[in-house]
């Protein structure tokens, strides 16, 4: 398929899902009321619902989805491994730990930026640990094992922090951090996370050429003029900033970074640089679709977003392992 056509198609799908996300919710607003809420002041209650509840939710859905798709594509390209994904490799889990430490110690109540900053720090530690454990030329098994180790450790520490909290709700909130949710997120969450996500995107999207060259391995890439140290820094910091900020406000949403680049790879001729913008758009579309799904399947209840992405993603992951059994293991 023509590349420009693919990008145009994905943009349209993402835009339509963004609009659909604005129109779904427990308040059951019909189209005229919804539009009035968005664009005029005639119905204050509808305006509140549309602008303060649904709009931030849709914006975050789009941005977080784009972040997960983009960072998944970069991680797969950089690690030269089709099973790389921020959640599988422990980046999201470590970011959750940072966020939990910020919230449950009361730090983020005093200093709101503490939330995204601590989450991003967690993500940075995870990626650096990953490099240390697995190296940049690691086989799949080593990589996945390193990811499991980091996720387990981060999850255990998160659970500990939550259980030590004097607040009775804290222990139950583990579900939010492990499975992710966009329910009742406000524009404050958007302002808190968007700048970091955008900075992360800027760092990741210039890696196209380097990722293409890395197809032939780090030695050849270096001989083609690619600065590997700069590439590593941009990949690490870009992933940590964007995924860290996304996790800080929505918890861990898994499998998007794994599935999206996989589905799109055949359509872009496996060219890593082309995969980047396509994965961002498709990631946005998938998270928006999942967020619409949780509101349709269980209206009024707080079904976690990660549940839907896991129901689709986990079998997909298993299928991948089976299909590439010989190469993967």
């Amino acid at each position: 398929m023509n590349y420009r056509l693919l990008l145009a198609l994905l943009s349209v799908i993402a835009a339509l899902l963004f609009i659909a996300s604005l129109l779904v919710g427990p308040a059951n607003l019909d189209l005229p009321t919804a539009l009035a809420g968005l664009f005029s002041k005639s119905n204050p209650a509808a305006t509140l619902v549309m602008c303060e509840i649904r709009l931030p939710r849709a914006i975050l859905g789009f941005m977080i989805g784009a972040t997960l798709g983009l960072s998944g594509a970069v991680m797969q390209g950089y690690l030269r491994n089709p099973l790389a994904d921020p959640a599988i490799l422990g980046v999201s889990g470590a970011a959750s730990l940072g966020a939990v430490l910020a919230i449950y110690t009361g730090l983020s109540a005093m200093f709101p930026l503490a939330l995204p900053l601590l989450a991003i720090s967690g993500a940075v530690v995870a990626v650096l640990l990953l490099q240390m454990l697995a190296g940049t030329n690691a086989g799949t098994l080593t990589l996945i094992l390193a990811g499991i180790a980091i996720t387990s450790l981060a999850g255990a520490l998160t659970s500990l922090a939550l259980n030590l909290s004097p607040n009775p709700f804290a222990a139950m909130e583990m579900m939010f951090w492990m499975m992710g949710s966009l329910t009742d997120r406000s524009m404050q969450h958007v302002w808190l996370s968007a700048p970091f996500m955008i900075v992360g995107w800027a760092m990741l999207s210039i890696l196209g050429r380097a990722l293409n060259a890395l197809t032939l391995g780090p030695q050849v890439a270096s001989s083609l003029g690619i600065r590997l140290d700069r590439t590593q820094m941009l990949a690490v910091l870009g992933t940590a900033a964007s995924v860290g900020a996304a996790t800080a406000v929505a918890g861990t949403i898994g499998f998007v970074g794994l599935i999206v680049p996989h589905l799109l790879r055949p359509f872009v001729g496996s060219e890593p640089s082309r995969l980047l913008p396509a994965s961002a758009l498709a990631g946005a579309a998938i998270v928006l679709a999942a967020d619409i799904g949780v509101r349709i399947i269980a209206p009024g209840r707080d079904l976690k977003l990660g549940v839907l992405t896991a129901i689709v993603g986990a079998p997909f992951f298993l299928w991948l392992v089976v299909k590439h059994r010989r190469d993967v293991l």
């Binding site: 919710g25 427990p26 308040a27 607003l29 204050p44 209650a45 509808a46 509140l48 619902v49 303060e52 509840i53 649904r54 919230i103 449950y104 009361g106 983020s108 109540a109 909290s165 004097p166 607040n167 709700f169 804290a170 909130e173 939010f176 009742d184 406000s186 524009m187 404050q188 009024g300 209840r301 707080d302």
Partner: protein, 287 residues
């Protein structure tokens, strides 16, 4: 034959005596050593029991945010609802809630203790029922009847509702509300307000999405108080811009949890608080 029959009779009488010894005293004699395992039974027991009759209350009663009688509770040794702990206190009556840990209650019953469980009140009449029963169990019917009379008197003294009842929404952590069939809903209605949860057809304590709350534009939002020291995501909606805008510059009306969690004479205080807020709202609405 005769030695055999004598042996059987001996064993039978020994068994009977042992069983009788294990059976706790029935209601002929009022219990002398009562242990309460549940916050709500603690409060009722502390109000109704005679001096020296109540031996221990649960540790939750010492928490001033959860318990009205927190100061009184400090006079009693605290228990944590653990069977082993209570076993060593040798009570002759244990009072607990219907939701108290099933494992602990089962263990205590197996050990031969008398356990009486109280369901949480779902309405103001339920409070009367529980007080009356506590009085019967403790042999303090007169005290209970006095308290019930006070309760009714105080309730009647609450001023009448406004002509047009304002709409109130209960909003707790995690966007929960109390619908029909709950004590909180009954208190709200008795204070002269319409409860949003009831109006929307919700039963029990259940989730009310923020969107619906905002669309209904209630006149009054009643929230639980957020403990200052321990943060959690559960309270996020309290600072959500949509909620703040719905309040239109008023603050969240709060009724301290301790008045709504358990039912007792102190529940009237909750009714009074809401009634005052309702009237204030009515005066503000008038030009």
């Amino acid at each position: 034959m005769r030695p055999y029959a004598a042996a059987v009779a001996g064993i039978a009488s020994w068994l009977t005596a042992a069983l009788l010894a294990m059976t706790p005293a029935r209601a002929n004699e009022p219990p002398r050593r009562v242990v309460s395992m549940n916050l709500c039974t603690d409060q009722l027991a502390m109000l109704i029991a005679a001096k020296g009759q109540l031996y221990s209350v649960s540790y939750l009663s010492r928490d001033p945010e959860a318990s009205v009688l927190s100061d009184d509770a400090k006079n009693f040794p605290a228990n944590h609802g653990l069977a082993e702990e209570i076993f060593t206190m040798s009570p002759d009556l244990i009072v607990a809630g219907t939701f108290t840990s099933r494992a602990s209650i089962a263990m205590l019953k197996r050990l031969g203790f008398r356990v009486e469980q109280f369901a949480p009140p779902n309405s103001l009449p339920d409070i009367r029922t529980n007080m009356k029963r506590m009085g019967e169990l403790l042999g303090r019917e007169k005290r209970a009847n006095d308290l019930i009379a006070e309760f009714d008197h105080a309730l009647a003294a609450v001023p009448a509702a406004l002509q047009k009842r304002p709409l109130a929404a209960l909003h707790y952590a995690n966007s929960y509300t109390s619908g029909e069939g709950t004590l909180a809903a009954d208190v709200v209605e008795r204070a002269g307000l319409d409860n949003l949860g009831t109006r929307l057809g919700l039963h029990g304590t259940t989730r009310l999405p923020l969107e619906l709350l905002v669309m209904e534009a209630p006149d009054l939002i009643i929230g639980g108080i957020r403990p200052s020291s321990s943060p959690a995501l559960a309270y996020d909606t309290f600072s959500h811009p949509a909620l703040r805008d719905t309040l239109r510059g008023h603050s969240l009306t709060s009724v301290p949890d301790k008045y709504l969690v358990c039912g007792g004479p102190f529940t009237i205080e909750a009714v009074r608080l809401l009634q005052t807020a309702s009237h204030k709202l009515g005066r503000q609405k008038q030009p």
